[in-house]
């Protein structure tokens, strides 16, 4: 397949990237802004900019734009192409061009079945991080593709879990697909590209503005068969993803959290509004395919040695630190060694502050 993008879509994408921060200053919902045609977008910009943008768009060298994508190692496909992911067409303003790092063929293959998005807070609790990771892993093991935004926190944990589960995962980036954003996730980006794909609406070299995150969220929502919110505060972008998903008819799931935790306000709110309760990969599978039709793969059938099981159970019950374990009857002389054994065996993970969490 020779990927291509038609002239109209290519110049549209260029225009969005060129307008950058102007779009942030527009009043109104981003969906409506993105529904404007090229002329409408330019008109919405202020006085002198307007004329300049028109000139630039007029004299735009489309071949150079395409060459830049090629040079960045990206494959492109536009919404006029029959192979364009049909799921995205459910959006009122689907991205004009998809820029794909890691292979267009792979992206189409990974998103063909029933991909699931796992999204959430950039500052999750250790518990949230662990849930995102294990959900990603179990879904991957069950043969589903995990889609997320590679943001800090829940997103990254979901990707990492899917990679642990040994399957490709799709990252939808706000800027350009070949460049990791946030930059701290360089290593994760590299790992994702080895077996999965990174995709973006905007072309290489685009500088990143606020609206691009919301625009990215709509792609995540549309590309997935279901989206799951793990942890999110009331103002989280993950809730925007959930809202878009609901508007275009994608099921929304949420992982319940403690009512006292601000990070649980988002998912609990969604649950109250009728979202699907997600307690694990099986809930997702049941919702997508009908109860009990497909069973979640068991990522880890093994058990720790018998003498370590009571300790693991105590950690899973919420005795998360050596001191708490001491109160539960596991003194430091034996307990510390047993904790290290569990950690080495991959049954628990040690987080900040020396807090242990069971790996589900």
């Amino acid at each position: 397949m020779t990927p291509r993008a038609c002239d109209a879509c290519t110049s549209r994408t260029w225009l969005l990237g060129r307008m950058g921060g102007h779009i942030d200053r527009f009043r109104g919902r981003l969906e409506h802004v993105l529904e404007l045609d090229d002329d409408g977008l330019i008109s919405a910009a202020g006085g002198r900019t307007r004329a300049r943008l028109r000139d630039e768009l007029e004299s735009l060298d489309l071949e150079r734009v395409r060459a830049r994508s090629r040079a960045a190692g990206l494959e492109t496909i536009c919404r006029c192409d029959p192979a364009y992911p049909p799921a995205l067409l459910a959006l009122p303003a689907p991205p004009a061009v998809l820029h794909v790092a890691g292979g267009l063929g792979r992206l189409l293959e990974l998103t063909a079945a029933e991909p699931v998005a796992i999204v959430g807070s950039r500052r999750p609790s250790e518990y949230g991080r662990e849930v995102a990771r294990s959900l990603g892993r179990s879904l991957a093991v069950s043969g589903l593709t995990v889609i997320s935004g590679m943001a800090l926190g829940v997103d990254s944990a979901a990707h990492a879990g899917a990679l642990d589960g040994g399957s490709g995962t799709v990252a939808v980036l706000p800027g350009s697909a070949e460049r990791p954003y946030p930059a701290a996730k360089r290593a994760l980006h590299r790992r994702i590209l080895t077996g999965g794909a990174a995709v973006s609406e905007l072309g290489p070299g685009t500088s990143i503005w606020r609206w691009m995150f919301l625009a990215r969220n709509r792609i995540i929502a549309a590309l997935s068969a279901m989206i799951v919110v793990v942890e999110a505060t009331e103002y989280s972008g993950a809730l925007v993803t959930a809202r878009v998903a609901r508007e275009i008819g994608r099921p929304v799931g949420a992982v319940p959290g403690r009512i006292t935790s601000p990070q649980a306000a988002g998912p609990n709110g969604l649950l109250a509004a009728g979202a699907c309760m997600v307690r694990g990969a099986q809930d997702v599978l049941d919702h997508l395919f009908g109860a009990g039709v497909r069973l979640a793969g068991a990522p880890r059938a093994r058990q720790p040695p018998a003498e370590l099981r009571p300790l693991l159970a105590a950690i899973a019950e919420g005795h998360e630190t050596p001191a708490a374990l001491g109160r539960a009857g596991f003194g430091p002389d034996q307990g510390l060694a047993a904790l290290a054994a569990l950690e080495l065996g991959g049954f628990v993970r040690r987080g900040p502050g020396g807090r242990f969490s069971a790996i589900p």
């Binding site: 950039r122 500052r123 609790s125 250790e126 991080r129 990771r133 800090l152 926190g153 990254s156 944990a157 990492a160 946030p182 701290a184 290593a187 994760l188 006292t260 935790s261 601000p262 990070q263 998360e320 630190t321 050596p322 001191a323 001491g326 109160r327 003194g331 430091p332 002389d333 034996q334 307990g335 510390l336 060694a337 047993a338 904790l339 290290a340 054994a341 950690e343 080495l344 991959g346 993970r349 040690r350 987080g351 900040p352 502050g353 020396g354 807090r355």
Partner: protein, 511 residues
């Protein structure tokens, strides 16, 4: 007429023999001091003149030249006053010049003729003994301290007149009370020392503290504010083995030179906790006239760096040589001064910038904050930390419960473990497990088969770096010594693993 008397200059923390030569010639009345003295030495002329006259002696109305030899050594401070005054008295025949050869004199004078308290008397006494002198005249406040040096008679005098009396052959004044054989720790005063019995809960940190003390391992305490990190650190000296007499004298000398200590022998290991705004020179020593820094004041004791992440990078970097070599050399002019710095490094830090990581949902730090915090902490200093302990708030029941242990009990266990190490490491440069380098570890550390397996597994799954593995083995050896295991068992390695300090590469922030 010429008179000559010995005294000592303090160079860093070491005594340097100085001859005070006083020559009296006929001529116009004048008093000059030569021999590279600083302002305090120059001003000493006026103190000496007034002190001599106010003590009822006669100040010669002739030409007086005093020389401080050797001439190349820079002389600092008022400690030469007494020697100059005695020199003038001897040169003018008011005290017998013949008696001077066996004496050293040290101290500052007041205008009224009293000898004032002058820091560094112990160093001076050591110099006097080394120079083969028999008697040392020091200010009375410093007599007990100087008397710690064997084979030297100490005359603690409070006035110039008493000093002259000693030279006239009067009996030496008795030393102030409590000099010899002050009991080590049993005195009433020591019961107020910090003790592990003050700690409630904290079972795991207490265990780690004991391990750190037993093996001389540097230690990082991590925990939210107010959980007791400083409290625990302050109690480490109480479980370290007692200082030998040689160590105690060394510590006393350093603290005396620094002017921090006045009487008798220091018997508790020093605990120094500099504030995090300290400069590199303050930490390791320095200044135009080098003075010992906190690292040297903590020699044979504990250097505690609270809020490690707040220290300036240059200060922490300056600690590398002292940690590595057990001493620091400071070069000034053409000379290098060496200060000893064999201390146990204990540092405390919050787990994250807000301090509440891992405490329910209280932490408001994002991943980048945590990363930045980790970066601030990491670096060469952290590489020297063998143990990491997470300190938590004790629960209400624990606060009301009886203490887990006491310093006495812990100290006994530590002493046993140290003895085992001493015997094993006799032939090496290391004195405790914390000082073992890779070569010594290979040669002297033996692991049981299952222990080897666990270690290999930890390495393979990436929980350890190569350097981290080395640290774990050292700590495991100390645990084995505490448990009296001849070879390191699997449980020893596992315990060491759970107390390991995770370098940036080993931190499970990745995801």
């Amino acid at each position: 007429m010429l008179a000559r008397i010995a005294t000592f200059a303090i160079d860093g923390i070491d005594p340097r023999h100085v001859w005070v030569e006083v020559d009296i010639r006929s001529g116009l009345p004048a008093f000059t001091i030569v021999g590279l003295g600083d302002a305090a030495v120059r001003e000493s002329r006026d103190r000496v003149r007034s002190a001599i006259m106010n003590s009822g002696y006669e100040f010669p109305q002739t030409r007086i030249t005093a020389n401080l030899a050797p001439a190349f050594l820079r002389k600092v401070g008022p400690g030469f006053d007494a020697a100059l005054a005695i020199g003038v008295l001897a040169a003018s025949g008011q005290v017998p010049a013949g008696a001077l050869s066996a004496y050293a004199v040290f101290g500052e004078l007041s205008l009224g003729g009293e000898l004032r308290d002058s820091p560094g008397a112990l160093a001076v006494a050591e110099g006097a003994r080394r120079a083969g002198l028999e008697r040392l005249i020091v200010p009375r406040e410093r007599a007990r301290e100087a008397a710690l040096v064997d084979g030297l008679e100490i005359a603690g005098v409070s006035t110039l007149r008493e000093a002259a009396g000693v030279l006239h052959g009067e009996p030496l004044p008795a030393l102030p009370a409590h000099v010899h054989g002050a009991p080590a720790r049993a005195t009433a005063a020591t019961t107020f020392e910090p003790d592990l019995a003050d700690v409630r809960g904290q079972a795991a940190p207490l265990l780690a503290l004991e391990i750190a003390a037993a093996g001389g391992h540097n230690l990082l305490l991590e925990g939210p504010p107010g959980t007791g990190k400083t409290m625990l650190a302050r109690r480490i000296p109480s479980i370290l083995p007692e200082m030998t007499r040689a160590e105690a004298i060394e510590v006393t000398r350093i603290h005396s030179v620094a002017g921090l200590h006045a009487a008798g022998l220091i018997q508790t290991r020093p605990f120094r906790a500099p504030h995090h705004t300290i400069s590199a020179a303050g930490l390791v020593g320095g200044g135009a006239l080098p003075r010992p820094g906190e690292a040297t004041l903590a020699h044979h004791g504990v250097l505690f760096l609270d809020e490690l992440a707040e220290f300036q990078r240059p200060s922490l970097d300056a600690l590398r040589q002292p940690l590595e070599d057990g001493r620091v050399s400071i070069v000034r002019g053409q000379r290098a001064l060496v200060f000893p710095t064999r201390f146990m490094l204990v540092a405390a830090t919050n787990p994250c910038p807000c301090g509440f990581a891992g405490v329910g949902d209280r932490c408001r730090c994002g991943e980048p904050d945590l990363r930045r915090h980790q970066r601030r902490l990491s670096g060469p200093l952290l590489d020297r930390m063998d143990l990491l302990i997470n300190v938590e708030r004790p629960s209400e029941e624990e606060l009301r419960a009886s203490p887990e242990t006491s310093s006495g009990r812990a100290r006994a266990r530590v002493a046993t473990a140290r003895e085992r190490q001493r015997r094993r490491l006799e032939a090496t440069s290391a004195t405790c497990n914390g000082e073992m380098d890779a070569r010594i570890v290979r040669r002297y550390v033996r692991l049981e088969e299952p222990a080897e397996r666990v270690l290999a597994q930890a390495y393979v799954v990436g929980a350890l770096s190569a350097r981290g593995r080395h640290r774990v083995v050292r700590v495991a050896q100390t645990i084995a010594d505490l448990e009296r295991h001849d070879r390191i068992t699997q449980a020893d390695v596992l315990t060491a693993l759970s107390l390991r300090q995770r370098g940036a590469a080993e931190t499970a922030l990745a995801a």
